[in-house]
Symmetry: C2
Subunit: 152 residues, 2 copies
DNA sequence: TGACATAAGATGTATATACACCTAAAAAGA
DNA sequence: TCTTTTTAGGTGTATATACATCTTATGTCA
């Protein structure tokens, strides 16, 4: 009889784990984009936040967090850095609990300067992966986001 | 003439951004799994690391980092926590620069205890998303990982 | 062999992420 | 109205992530 290996038997088929696979690819693509965005001076997280903010301004933290699939408290910490660097400003909302966040002119300048590098990274990715394939995959990602956030 | 909105024109089509879409879905699915793994006492990152380690033990940090799509220094910090809690041990390799990492018995116990919760989360996801669809999507994710890590 | 390049790992620093918990304000009900 | 619940946001704490840089060990090659 063959000796047992010291590792566990009947292990979870982690190779199929949705969490592991998505997180791994997300790490790698974040590194890919960050490398290419570097000359523009913004990391992918902040670039994304500023572009979204520029579209939604003024917007509450709650709404922005939902839009980004981020915990509210994560967004609070991320926004603090953007506020420190004068990329955003906050005004009180009609509802006194709410801070309405807006992108500043400095943010729009930074977006404009970083945008070509993003375009290049995105183009490089689309050229290699296929635009149509990516369009389909985006639908899959949206479906997954819907599934894991649905209350049932 | 319609007044210009204060936001920038000709903005990047961020809705198609591969980085943003993958990171957003990765955040959401990590929350989904972490909620369901909670009774088992391990978060998704550590559960994943331990299962992989249990398969690859003993393994160098470099090899494990490549396998996980993680920066070596990220893995060093993650492993430190696992070592603190006696889930892993390290032995010097033949190459004196290398630390060979192994999962402990405590790790295998923790894996066994968490595994049912992972199975439930994975089953819930597969049931809603579709097993076949997920199999195809895993190929897409693998292809993306390959694309963004290829040297050209 | 000795000089140089490369590789493995750790550390300093900074950002990213989210849970538990707290405060204040608004909404809902009695 | 007044009590209760819900909601928006912030804080304390802990983990997750990675770049720049350092140290040490290995590999390369003249």
């Amino acid at each position: 009889m063959a000796p047992q290996t010291p590792t566990s038997q009947n292990q979870p088929a982690l190779g199929e784990c949705a969490c592991m696979n998505l997180r791994k690819t997300a790490r790698l693509i974040a590194q890919f984009y960050d490398q290419r965005l570097q000359p523009g001076g913004l990391r992918n997280t902040q670039f994304t936040l500023l572009v979204v903010l520029d579209h939604l301004s003024p917007v509450s933290i709650k709404n922005l967090a939902d839009h980004m699939g981020m915990d509210r408290t994560t967004l609070t910490r991320n926004l603090r850095l953007l506020e420190r660097d004068n990329y955003i400003t906050a005004q009180p909302g009609k509802d006194a609990r709410v801070r309405m966040i807006s992108a500043t002119g400095k943010a729009r300048v930074a977006i404009k300067e970083t945008q070509p590098y993003w375009q290049k990274a995105q183009g490089e990715f689309l050229q290699k992966f296929g635009e149509e394939r990516w369009t389909e995959m985006r639908e899959d990602l949206t479906e997954i986001s819907r599934i894991v956030t649905s209350q049932d």
